[in-house]
């Protein structure tokens, strides 16, 4: 806890409606964020029960230095993933980190199942489990709005954070997301379903406690240094300017932009849906997470005709690179308005955009190849047909029939049931990200603790390594995984990883009373990685069981056609590293 040498944890048991507050000195060596969340998940999980059991806990944690330093603006959620069946980890921005800090909790552990549909409110002076029966079934944004209006009191507006699930989460879609403050999400790995399983529609966090600054001079100097790096240098410029979609064109040129279910690494209509095209045609606003002066949230607007006779409405949704990939190129959709329309539907349904897009990509190809029929898909899914995909998203969130029931468990499960595993583009059960850049983009998520491209940035190594070298790639992935365990204990936005070099991290943390050195940071990273590996072990994960779809080795990547055998050899080499780490005493 800021200014203290302990971690303050709020436990909420939805079943007994009791809370418990813990003061945990023993968690201090894990610093905060993903470190304390991993430990708390390990302590509270039920390895013998199904991942979807409501008894499985959900943990939220903020990092050390959260909100009070620029761009330390995210919150981590850890849970048992309904999608992969093992360690679930997801990050979101918005106001949540700020609100948790102001409320006075480093971590929030939610266990049990509420007796009826409920939402939870957490503030400095109170915790409540409230009736949400009439909110169940509502689209995501309407439900958030109702919570916001009901909890309206003087002085809280703009300072609270609201988390909400949509119909997908209520219906247990394994990749349902949780929206945070409208525009940000715990997108990946199915936290939305975990909340749904607990009868929990929403969470509101607000705080107004006083937090005296211990060493104002030192703290404010560190704050200013970091603030200046964020605003007066070009280090963060691209994230604010056109934002992450600026990557569409370079990735397309490099042949690493997954298109039409990765049948190709290039999209012939990339110019139409580039970051530049979105900025020109649709961008209407930029926003920031609390505590971040960058402002990378890009809100796009499009005009929807809802009736004949010139009846229009303006729809605005946030967009990013990964959404344009998953719901655009991966589905062959070539118009910015159409992509925004699909994003909007995914948003209201409360699905993870990436998994939803990749699952629909598989479904489209499975239909074309005769593995499934339109009796299953209910819609004649075709690459490029946005209207069909919008219908399919609705079916998916509502789990309309047996096919959508199965597709709602991820494309790995769907392909096991219907066939087409070679082109079900998942890695260890998690649908792929928007990079087909080389071995890093395949092996990185395969060995990464949560099977995300962001575990170790393999796709980035593919692009920065001058010459491919197996051992260098394995070493690079391992080093980066350890490093991100450490940086995620501050829960910094990954965009700021260049701002927060180790020297800057130490300057920031030591200005608020930590006494850490470089070796401590290394140990913290390794300690956290060990805990994550323990979690994976407890949940029965076996690296050798990971089977990669053949498509990865057929469609040329940025670095040419990849060999299957090489990928598996890289994985085996990586396992030697984690085995050695587990032997280390820290």
């Amino acid at each position: 806890m800021l200014n203290e040498r302990f971690i303050r944890v709020l436990h909420v048991d939805l079943e007994t409606e009791k809370i418990r507050i813990e003061r945990r000195e023993d968690l201090v060596p894990y610093l905060g964020g993903v470190g304390i969340a991993s430990k708390l998940l390990l302590e509270n999980l039920n390895p013998d029960l199904d991942p979807t059991a409501p008894e499985q806990p959900i943990v939220f944690a903020i990092g050390s230095g959260a909100y009070i330093f620029p761009v330390l603006s995210k919150t981590v959620a850890m849970f048992v993933s309904p999608l992969t069946g093992e360690m679930g980890e997801s990050y979101a921005g918005g106001r949540l980190a700020m609100a948790m800090l102001m409320a006075g909790y480093d971590a929030l552990v939610i266990s049990g199942k509420a007796k009826k549909h409920s939402y939870l409110t957490v503030s400095t002076e109170d915790v409540n489990i409230r009736d949400a029966r009439s909110l169940w079934g509502l689209p995501l944004n309407e439900a958030s709005l109702k919570v916001r209006d009901r909890e309206n009191s003087d002085g809280v507006s703009g300072k609270r954070s609201i988390l909400c699930i949509g119909p997908a989460g209520e219906n247990g879609v394994a990749y349902a997301c949780v929206a945070v403050d409208t525009y940000r999400h715990f997108g990946r790995m199915g936290l939305g379903a975990c909340m749904g399983n607990k009868n929990l529609k929403a969470i509101m966090v607000h705080g107004n406690r006083s937090i005296p600054i211990l060493n104002q001079k030192q703290y404010f100097k560190a704050y200013q240094d970091i603030y200046k790096k964020c605003t007066a240098t070009d280090m963060m410029a691209k994230y604010h300017d056109a934002g992450t979609p600026i990557n569409i064109l370079p990735l397309n040129k490099a042949g690493g932009l997954p298109t039409r279910n990765l049948q190709s690494g290039t999209f012939e209509h990339a110019d139409n849906i580039s970051g530049e095209a979105f900025a020109q045609k649709n961008l209407v606003r930029k926003l920031a997470c609390s505590g971040c002066p960058v402002g990378c949230i890009h809100v796009g607007m499009y005009r929807r005709e809802f009736d004949k006779g010139h009846e229009y409405e303006a729809i605005s949704v946030a967009y990013d690179y990964e959404l344009i990939f998953a719901l655009g190129t991966f589905l062959g959709v070539k118009d910015t308005d159409e992509i925004l329309a699909i994003i909007d539907e995914v948003e209201e349904s409360g699905l993870d955009a990436m998994s939803a897009g990749v699952c629909l990509g598989w479904a489209t190809e499975a239909l074309a190849r005769g593995y499934v029929t339109t009796k299953d898909t209910l819609v004649d899914l075709q690459f490029g047909d946005a209207a069909g995909y919008i219908q399919a998203v609705k079916h998916l969130a509502k789990r309309r029939n047996a096919f959508y029931q199965t597709l709602g468990k991820g494309c790995r499960v769907a392909a096991e049931r219907y066939g087409g595993e070679d082109f079900a583009m998942q890695i260890a059960g998690n649908e792929m990200a928007g990079y087909h850049t080389g071995y890093g983009s395949v092996v990185g998520p395969a060995v990464g603790a949560r099977h995300s491209h962001l575990c170790n940035g393999g796709y980035s190594l593919d692009q920065s390594m001058k010459e491919f070298d197996e051992d260098a790639l394995v070493e690079g992935l391992f080093k980066e995984e350890c490093e991100r365990c450490m940086t995620n204990s501050l829960v910094m936005c990954l965009f700021a990883r260049k701002i927060y070099d180790r020297e800057t991290i130490l300057m920031a943390l030591n200005s608020i009373g930590w006494e850490l050195n470089d070796a401590d940071l290394t140990a913290i990273g390794k300690r956290i990685y060990q805990t994550k590996l323990q979690l994976k072990q407890a949940l029965g994960f076996e690296q050798k069981d990971v089977k990669l779809p053949k498509r990865f080795f057929e469609t040329p990547s940025t670095n040419g056609v990849l060999e299957e055998e090489t990928a598996y050899r890289l994985i085996r080499k990586y396992v030697e590293k984690t085995d050695a780490l587990m032997q280390e005493t820290l």
């Binding site: 909100y67 102001m102 104002q216 703290y219 404010f220 002066p293």
Partner: protein, 142 residues
């Protein structure tokens, strides 16, 4: 010439809250947003616009007029300065502010009123907040 704070271009606001962070830090030595003299908020959820609620720098400050102990004194350029020695914490200044810009510090039992120091404007990444030259009667002119 004395300057005064104006949230001139809130249409550009990102909602980063840097202004509130630095105001609480510099003026109250506290991390709490609730201690900031400037309040940035939405007018109804993240999809709506941001507004800044902060002292308008009235030429005839109602807060000063209502203060029973004359703890609020006129500031050159507009607004008031609080003398915490003589402020008794009666809160009468809070409801009379038409901009609802006076915040009461429940911990210290003193009002938090913007003194137009300009630190928020210095840390506004999008130049929404600006310090401008004060002119007599400018509030009415605007």
């Amino acid at each position: 010439m004395a300057k005064i704070l104006r949230p001139k271009e809130m249409n550009k606001c990102l909602g980063c809250f840097a202004c509130m962070t630095v105001c609480s830090t510099v003026n109250q030595s506290n991390h709490a947003l609730s201690k900031s003299a400037i309040k940035v908020r939405t007018i109804g959820g993240m999809t709506s616009s941001y507004v800044a609620i902060v002292c308008l720098g009235c030429s005839e400050p109602a807060c000063m007029e209502v203060c029973p102990s004359s703890a609020l004194k006129k500031r050159a350029g507009g607004g008031v300065l609080v003398n915490e020695e003589t402020c008794i914490g009666c809160r009468k200044c809070v409801p009379v502010c038409i901009a609802r810009a006076i915040n009461f510090d429940e911990e210290r039992k003193k009002p938090i009123i913007c003194k137009h120091c300009g630190v928020c404007a210095r840390f506004c990444p999008h130049d929404c907040l600006q310090m401008i030259e004060a002119k007599e009667g400018m509030l009415d002119a605007e």
